[in-house]
């Protein structure tokens, strides 16, 4: 027993280190490859250069994809916050016929393959005579990210003491006032977290997006896919490195400003 106890900690640390390495090593390799000089991807590179970064930033399809992506993700994540909040609120506060159904429906994209959704929307859109415009892409992303927003809001909502609602009511607050003055401020961190998550997911989504975009609406991941089909140079690695950097920065800043301690302080208000 004693020996096992003493071994437990180092073994645990080793396992965690291995898991972390397994998760992060591919990203590290990509970042290193991006700084290579040869026009094929090579690890480790034998000469160093920044030229693939330059190409990644100036390649027209990537620029267009970036703008499209920001535009689509902004809409999709904003709409997802609105829809997800309403859904989470409905499921949490009201028990009605079919509330369980609504819950599983709104959470189902977690189990439906993105590919299926993409094809389905493509068929639906052409059947309805819709062109493959931004609206279809936004709708597609909305469906994909709503469950995550709803989860996030739902958890925040669960963390709100139901007695607060009663306290506010006993002090004369009508239901709408309770929502605006009590629930909404307390949900803010959850909403922000959900929005951020939705934005990142939407921005990175590829499988379903591939089916519902065309040349003018293609997002960055789709543009990258098209690029890879023609070239094998480290531009892709450079772009990936940039995206990893930006996303990481984004998360760190977000965590700092609307971060964990605000979310936790809601949980421990007692």
């Amino acid at each position: 027993m004693r020996l096992a106890d003493r071994l437990a900690r180092p073994v645990f640390v080793a396992i965690v280190a291995l898991v972390l390495a397994f998760v992060t090593l591919p990203s590290l390799v990509v970042v290193v490859v991006a700084f290579g000089d040869k026009s094929i991807m090579m690890f480790p590179p034998d000469a160093w250069s920044l030229r693939w970064f330059e190409r990644a930033l100036t390649y027209p399809d990537f620029r267009k994809g970036m703008v499209n992506g920001l535009y689509i993700s902004a809409w999709a994540s904003l709409l997802a916050v609105a829809v997800g909040t309403m859904g989470a609120y409905a499921i949490d506060r009201f028990r009605f016929r079919g509330s369980a159904l609504l819950e599983s429906l709104l959470l189902s994209p977690l189990v439906i393959p993105h590919f299926t959704l993409g094809v389905g929307l493509l068929i639906l859109a052409s059947g309805l005579g819709l062109s493959r415009g931004y609206a279809v892409v936004v709708l597609c992303h909305l469906i994909l990210v709503v469950p995550f927003v709803m989860r996030s809001v739902y958890v925040s909502l669960k963390n709100i003491d139901p007695m607060l609602e009663r306290a506010a009511a006993s002090l004369g607050a009508r239901p709408l006032t309770v929502f605006l003055r009590i629930h909404l401020p307390l949900l803010a961190p959850g909403l922000a977290g959900g929005w951020l998550f939705a934005f990142i997911l939407s921005f990175n989504e590829f499988t379903a997006t591939l089916f519902v975009t065309n040349n003018t609406t293609q997002t960055l991941p789709v543009a990258m896919y098209n690029y890879v089909r023609e070239y094998a140079d480290p531009t892709m690695a450079a772009l990936s490195a940039l995206l990893i950097g930006i996303t990481a920065l984004f998360l760190v800043v977000a965590n700092r400003f609307l971060g964990l301690d605000r979310i936790l302080s809601i949980g421990s208000h007692r």
Partner: protein, 366 residues
Amino acid sequence: MSAAETRQGAEGDVSLSVDRVVKSFGDARAVDDVSLKVRRGEFVTLLGPSGCGKTTLLNLIAGFLAPESGEIFIDGAPISGLSPFERNIGVVFQNYALFPHMTVAENVGFGLKMRKVGKAEVERRVQEALEMVRLPQMGDRRPRQLSGGQQQRIALARALVIRPQLILLDEPFSAIDKNLRAEMQVELKTIQRQVGITTIFVTHDQSEALSMSDRIAVMSQGRVQQLSEPIELYRRPANSFVASFIGEINRLACTRRRDADCVLLEHGAVRLRLPAARVPGEGTGDSMLYVRPEALRAVDPGTPEANLCDGTVDAQVYQGTHVDLIVKADNGWLLRVREPGFDALERWPVGARLGVHADLAEACVY
């Protein structure tokens, strides 16, 4: 019930009146045909074990639940048609339920804002309320920066500042540690008297109930078992439930029969004679004699003073302020006799023979 209680109910103007209220959850009747009247300024405690319906009754009064039948009146006006936000009732919750995203002053001022009170007036009244609970400097703090006792006082200030017709307190001290609790009880009672507000207090802690209340409603299985002043409740419990629930009491099995205007209680060789007026109900058969440990005294065996029974000391329980003697009576009864003096430890050692004297005026039979 007792004459004192009837007199109290009719006296003064009634602030809260609960009239034959019923509330069920599924098949269980949480509140079962409860009626009670509370006078203006009175402090009434709903006391009972968990699941007795006391919190449900509180929620019905606050409007968080709707009664199936019956009506609740505040200052004579029926209120079951009103939502909680339309009633003018202050509520203090068990976990305080302070709004974590607002400052203390914003919390206290919330009810006033809802009432569209002007800004200067809100400020003045909030400060007044904070001074009342002796936390005048805390307005800018957040609730989580305060201790439990301070949060409790802010919750009280928030409920009182709207000048409600009635204040409801739901086990407000259960989350506060024991030393602070006694202090908070005194403080709450002082503030309640100062403000003169009608108060309904819910607790399962009988010592809290006995020390604070003007009257106590003991509840069990959705019904009010007894509504009396604390001293009446303790000395003249209305039934076996109240007798067993409040304080410590000896339950002594016996058979009873009527003998002229007396009731004879028998168990083994013991025969007791009580005036019939002291024993509710007719009939003969198995009964229980209820008598508190402090109504019993250890005396020399076989003397006329030993009017209850003779027996042997089975154990001694030293409790600081007193000694409890566990006595095995010759007729099989097991009694707890409370002796105030410390010499009882030496005088009545384990195995000693003794007689038990009972102050039968303090005994009840059910």
